[in-house]
């Protein structure tokens, strides 16, 4: 389905009145909206990798907003989230922020604020998705390296010269140079500076762990 690929605003609020009105507001602002009354339904139906953002009510009878956040963290869902609360305490707000909420909006709010916030979150979501794709490409390139080349790569990231690499890995200088060249070629990079950013991506990758 094409809709699943479309960035979606998920609304999670138990109060029908404010939920329905928010859905109307966001739809009229041309967002694709999916609303949920119960947190469990949301967690069951929305897969962690769905592209979008979440408008999360803090006070819900079944499960409060911070608990929903915790569950999402547990399953690796990193959806950008804004917390909405009718009567927020400092404590719950701080906890929500700590658990990765991007913003907190108090009810009642200016509709413009809400719309701006949601578009900001969607932008973040889109960027993350793009990063993810780029990272995937880099990882694929990295996969091409032989174990020895990866060792050389590590040394290079640490800023070692060919001479030092040869010494550290107990190989001759010429071999070290050859490895270096191959690493550059396989990773399709020009300068050692790019190595670092690749290293940053790769070190997050599970294949390199």
């Amino acid at each position: 389905m094409t809709t699943t690929l479309e960035p979606t605003v998920f609304v999670l609020d138990d109060d029908a009145e404010s939920r329905n009105s928010l859905v109307q507001l966001l739809s009229s602002s041309d967002f694709h909206v999916e609303a949920f009354e119960r947190p469990t339904r949301f967690l069951e139906e929305v897969p962690p990798d769905r592209l979008g953002c979440l408008v999360l009510d803090l006070c819900m009878p079944e499960m409060n907003g911070t608990e929903v956040q915790r569950r999402m963290i547990d399953r690796g869902q990193q959806i950008p989230t804004v917390i909405v609360t009718a009567y927020g305490t400092v404590q719950s707000t701080v906890l929500a922020m700590k658990q990765g909420a991007m913003d907190v909006i108090e009810k009642p709010y200016d509709p413009n604020v809400m719309v701006r916030c949601v578009s900001g979150l969607l932008a973040i979501a889109n960027r993350r998705a793009a990063d993810e794709t780029a990272g995937e490409a880099i990882r694929r390139k990295f996969e091409r390296l032989t174990p020895r080349e990866r060792e050389v790569f590590e040394q290079m990231v640490q800023g070692q010269s060919s001479k030092e690499i040869a010494l550290n890995l107990n190989i001759c200088f010429r071999t070290a140079q050859l490895h270096r060249e191959r690493v550059f070629r396989k990773l399709e990079i020009e300068s050692p500076v790019e190595l670092v950013s690749i290293s940053a991506v790769v070190s997050k990758s599970p294949t390199h762990a």
Binding site: E17, T89, M114
Partner: protein, 1090 residues
């Protein structure tokens, strides 16, 4: 072939033999068949001298051959001899003589053969060899004489022979049966004469057996040969009869036991010449004898085993058995081994043994062991007896066919030892004697071994059991000795045998001073009576007794009270005839006595108090205790009084209850007055001092009641003093009127001016009823009439005319003053108090209460701030969202898009706005500061308001709520906001109590019923955690179980409910949860609204 020997019975034969032997000529008796029977000495000597063999000349030989051999009668003379014989036998000639070789040479020394017929039957002839020498005429004379003698005795012999024939047959049979054979032998001859039975006994064929001593001697068991030889030698030497027992080994290998009895004949010089004897086969007898002996031995061993020391170690026991077997059965030696897993280990031995290893591997029996090792291993492995030197096959039947051991040392026997079919070891026995292990004996040995095994196992078991029992007994005694309870025991003679540490500790008498001492009872109980009781209980009576208390003397001279209890005789302890325990109850008794004393003191105080004292339960005012004075005061007996409720005798029940509640709250309440009735119905005014006390474990109220009716009467006397009375009256804020019995005002106090606007003087002389409004006059008259009859002040509210003012309600106390002497009413006193003042006071109090409940409402709302904000923000958010939506849509339309229908959004906005307004209104109403305002309403309306206020909380907590109202529930007249407040308080409490419950188990139910006759009862029930304590503290101000609570909710709620003429109480459920009940009066619309 062997013919019957013609030898008569011993006497006849003896005589016969002697005669024949007395002859110097060789003589033989020849049977009709021609066989030589008996021969005389001379004949045998002749035969010996010429070296003739026994077959030629001895008994059974053919006479013709013998003649040929001895007398030189050749073959050619045989027909002549035969003819001569038949002649003699047939009686043709009395005798027959022939001279062999007569034709050739007549030698003086040649033997002449003479046959003489012998009379009697069977027919036989006497063969005599005679020298022809004429120099020996006497011989023929002798022969003749002999013949004559024989002839003379024919008759006699015939008889003898007859009986002989019978006897022979009988003898032969007897011999065969008794295995007795007989033999005789001339010592100068090699051959002996053996009867048939002897051949049978010796197991030899008569046909090819020489009946010589050597033949016999070869058969004798090698072990017995020396004995036989020696015995014969001894008998010869000492000329005694011979009697020996010995064994022979028959040619077929059988061993037989024989007994030989023989006599030796000696000649005149004392030389032995002849032996005669019988041989009896006593094998069978021996066997039986041996069996009997074995049995006796086995029996004695068995007895020994049984009588053996029970504490004998196992090894010693086995050694003992082994020694008994070896010695008893005369076996060379033995060895006992215990079977352990795969090995057989030697644990003891007896007698001389060959080298046997200390242990044998049971799994390797056929490999390297010697025959006896193999036998014992096989015996233990297969559980059967094995014996022999080289025989390892199981042999059930024992040793009956035992061959002599090829081993020089003898034979062995291996016997398994089993207990309960489990083999525990084996016995290996050795003997030099081939017959040492007959089957019977093997059985005995096996039985004995098994018996020993069983005994050891049984003893071990018994030892273990005995040890365990001893141990447990020791432990019991130890426990008894150490336990912190006195323990005493008596033996059958009634002296103390046990006296434990606790006894020592309590009495100070050590065990050594008490135990076994006849005077110890005396020391403990010097008093005769106590001693008797002690002795009676412990020694003379039987069965159990409990807690018999005796004052016991101690070593230090003090006394302790000890409660003795005897343990039933059904639980005996060895050596103790009677025993039991004692508990030192001195302190307990002292405490009890002190308690009783204090109780008595208290009672004394209570009973003798000048005032009436009553103790009653607060909630139903049931009297728990009343002193005699109180009984007197109320005119009731104590038994009537206790159990009755003061509610029944109080004039103003509600006030009484208020006072009680006050007392409960404050702990005491001093000096209030109340009116109660005596049993005769008369009222009395009581001044009451109340205090909360604990009475028999529950809270109660103790009141000291003073009858101030009497005091009033006493005060009357003071009042008689006019001056004082006036002073009192004029300083009172109440109007005091003295009214004569006919209703005329006699006197009025100054207060009349302030209240009624009349000076006292203006009132005197008027009729009292004129002071009140018309409609109250009857009431006043009635009350005055009542005062004339009934004692006590009578209370009534009356509306009085006031000069220059509105009429006023005054509360009057009307009382008749009686003459002390005749109790007739002298005059009436009326005390009137301005109720409007009191009303103001009451209103002030109510106002304070209102303030308090208002504060509570504010606090409640403060606590609910979060929910309220939520509830307000939701619709506001919706309004804001819809407005934003509309703006978006309008922009789109303005930007050229299609037009949108905005109406639904407007509707939503309106709906949300209205909802918000309603909620704000509800909160405003709830927080309004106002007086008590009663109105007629339905409880359900109040209920839905209360639920509305708590809605968000209930939702958030997912509390399942229900409300049930009885169909007959009427409308009620209450202050709706206050009742709503009560409900909100209770709902909030319920929600708080249920936070700990899981979401599905939070239920809140409210039910309302009519409580006849005039109340509504409401129950708010939750499924929360319930109450932690009795719930009473919940009604104390500022008591709270909540972290952020103020602790006023329930206190306020109860006050509100009480202001509505009801009660509020809490019940906790055992299954969890709490119910709060409250009742409220249905109320009257026009209660008052001023």
């Amino acid at each position: 072939m062997h013919t019957e020997s013609p030898i008569p019975d011993t006497t006849a034969a003896d005589m016969y033999r002697r005669i024949l032997d007395g002859l110097s000529s060789p003589v033989a008796v020849v049977s009709a068949e021609g066989n030589i029977g008996f021969t005389n000495e001379a004949w045998r000597q002749l035969a010996e001298s010429i070296g003739a063999s026994a077959t030629e000349t001895a008994e059974g030989a053919d006479w013709r051959i013998a003649c040929g051999r001895l007398a030189g009668a050749g073959i050619e003379s045989e027909p002549e001899l035969t003819r001569g014989m038949s002649e003699v036998l047939n009686g043709d000639a009395p005798s027959f003589e022939v001279q062999p070789g007569a034709g050739t040479s007549v030698d003086a020394t040649a033997w002449k053969i003479r046959l003489t017929r012998m009379g009697g039957a069977p027919q036989c002839t006497i063969l005599t060899l005679e020298k022809n020498a004429p120099s020996q005429p006497e011989r023929s004379i002798v022969a003749r004489e002999l013949s004559d003698k024989i002839q003379n005795r024919n008759t006699e012999l015939e008889q003898l022979n007859r009986s002989l024939r019978e006897n022979q047959w009988r003898l032969s049979e007897a011999q065969r049966i008794a295995h007795v054979g007989h033999w005789d032998r001339d010592l100068d001859k090699s051959n002996a004469r053996w009867s048939d039975e002897i051949y049978r006994i010796l197991g030899r064929d008569p046909a090819n057996t020489e009946s010589t001593f050597h033949t016999f001697f070869d058969l004798v068991h090698p072990d017995d040969r020396d004995g036989v030889r020696e015995a014969i030698h001894y008998a010869r030497l000492h000329r005694s009869d011979l009697k020996i027992e010995f064994r022979i080994i028959r040619p077929d290998g059988q061993i037989r036991h024989l007994q030989d009895r023989a006599e030796i004949e000696f000649d005149a010089e004392g030389n032995p010449v002849r032996m005669f004897g019988t041989i009896q086969d006593i094998t069978e007898q021996k066997r039986v004898e041996s069996q009997l002996r074995d049995q006796a031995i086995a029996h004695s061993i068995r007895t020994k085993i049984r009588d053996a020391d029970r504490n004998l170690p196992d090894t010693e026991a086995w050694r003992f058995l082994l020694a008994a077997i070896v010695d008893g059965f005369e076996i060379a030696g033995g060895w006992y081994g215990r079977k352990s897993e795969q090995r057989l280990e030697r644990i003891c031995e007896h007698g001389h043994l060959d080298q046997i290893p200390d242990s044998l591997d049971l799994g390797d029996a056929h490999q390297t062991y010697s025959a006896e090792q193999r036998a014992i291993v096989a015996a233990v492995t297969h559980g059967r007896c094995f014996h022999g030197a080289n025989q390892t096959e199981p042999c059930e039947s024992g040793c009956a066919s035992m061959a002599p051991s090829p081993r020089a040392g003898g034979i062995h026997l291996a016997v398994p030892v089993a207990v309960d079919a489990r083999i525990i070891g084996g016995i290996l026995l050795f003997s030099d004697n081939a017959g040492a292990f007959p089957a019977e004996r093997v059985r005995h040995i096996q039985d004995l071994a098994n018996e020993m095994g069983e005994r050891i196992c049984r003893l071990r078991f018994e030892r273990d059991a005995a040890e365990a029992s001893r141990r447990s007994e020791r432990q019991l005694l130890q426990v008894i000795a150490e336990m912190p309870i006195m323990m005493i025991a008596f033996d059958a003679n009634g002296s103390i045998v046990a006296w434990n540490h606790e006894c020592e500790r309590v009495t100070g008498f050590s065990a050594s001073e008490i135990v076994g001492k006849p005077e110890s009872i005396e020391r403990l109980y010097p008093e005769q009576k106590q001693k008797e009781v002690f002795v009676n209980h412990w020694l003379l009576e039987s069965g159990e007794f409990r807690d018999w208390e005796l004052t016991t003397n101690c070593r230090d001279g003090g006394q302790r009270t000890i409660a003795w209890s005897r343990v039933s005789d059904q639980f005996p302890i060895p050596g103790w005839a009677k025993w039991g325990i004692g508990i030192d109850v001195t302190e307990r008794r002292m405490a009890e006595r002190a308690l009783a004393q204090s109780e008595r003191d208290y009672r004394g105080l209570f009973d003798n108090a000048h005032d009436a004292i009553i103790i009653f339960r607060p909630h139903d005012e049931i009297v728990l205790e009343a002193n005699p004075h109180a009984c007197q005061l109320y005119g009731l007996s104590r038994s009537e009084f206790i159990g009755m409720s003061l509610l029944d005798i109080s004039q103003d029940v509600a006030r009484g209850q208020r006072k009680i509640a006050e007392t409960m709250r404050l702990g005491q309440n001093v000096g209030f007055e109340t009116t109660q009735y005596r049993s005769d119905g008369s009222a009395m005014l009581l001044e009451i001092n109340a205090a909360v006390i604990e009475y028999r474990g529950e809270l109660a109220i103790l009141t000291i009641n003073r009858d101030i009716t009497n005091r009033r009467t006493a005060e009357d006397s003071v009042r008689n003093s006019e001056a004082r009375y006036r002073w009192l009256a004029d300083h009172s804020t109440d109007i005091i009127l003295r009214i004569s019995t006919d209703g005329t005002i006699m006197d009025a106090s100054h207060a009349s001016r302030a209240i009624l606007g009349y000076a006292p003087d203006e009132l005197v002389g008027r009729r009292c009823v004129e002071l009140v409004t018309r409609e109250n006059r009857d009431a006043m008259n009635a009350m005055i009439q009542r005062a004339m009859v009934e004692r006590g002040p009578h209370r009534i509210a009356l509306r009085f005319h006031c000069q220059g003012q509105d009429d006023r309600w005054l509360e009057c106390l009307i009382e008749g003053l009686r003459n002390p002497e005749n109790t007739t009413v002298r005059e009436i006193v009326a005390v009137a108090r301005d109720m409007s003042l009191r009303k103001q006071e009451e209103e002030l109090r109510e106002l304070r209460s209102m303030e308090l409940s208002h504060v509570n409402r504010l606090i409640t709302l403060g606590e609910m701030a979060g929910q309220i904000a939520h509830q307000l923000h939701q619709p506001l958010t919706a309004i804001s969202n819809y407005a934003g939506t509309m703006r978006n849509l309008i922009r789109k339309t303005n930007g050229g898009g299609e037009a949108h229908d905005l109406e639904p959004y407007c509707d939503e906005i309106v709906r949300s706005a209205v909802r918000t307004g309603e909620f704000i209104h509800r909160i405003r109403a709830f927080t309004q500061r106002r007086g008590l305002r009663r109105s007629q309403t339905r409880l359900s309306t109040i209920m839905s308001n209360a639920f509305g206020l708590c809605e968000i909380r209930l939702q958030r907590m997912t509390v399942h709520t229900s409300y049930f109202e009885a169909t007959d529930l009427p409308e009620i007249v209450v202050d709706t906001i206050q009742i709503e407040q009560v409900l909100v308080n209770l709902i909030n409490n319920a929600i708080d109590a249920m936070t700990m419950r899981e979401a599905g188990n939070r239920r809140l139910s409210v039910t309302a019923h009519v409580e006849p006759p005039t109340h509504v009862r409401v129950c708010v029930r939750d499924t929360g955690i319930g109450l932690q304590d009795d719930g009473q503290r919940l009604f104390q101000p500022f008591y709270t179980t909540k972290a952020d609570g103020v602790g006023m909710g329930l206190v306020i709620s109860r006050r509100i409910v009480e202001a509505h003429g009801g009660k509020l109480w809490i019940e906790s459920h055992s299954e969890g949860g709490t119910s709060v009940f409250f009742t409220i009066s249905l109320g009257e619309e026009n209660d008052d609204n001023t």
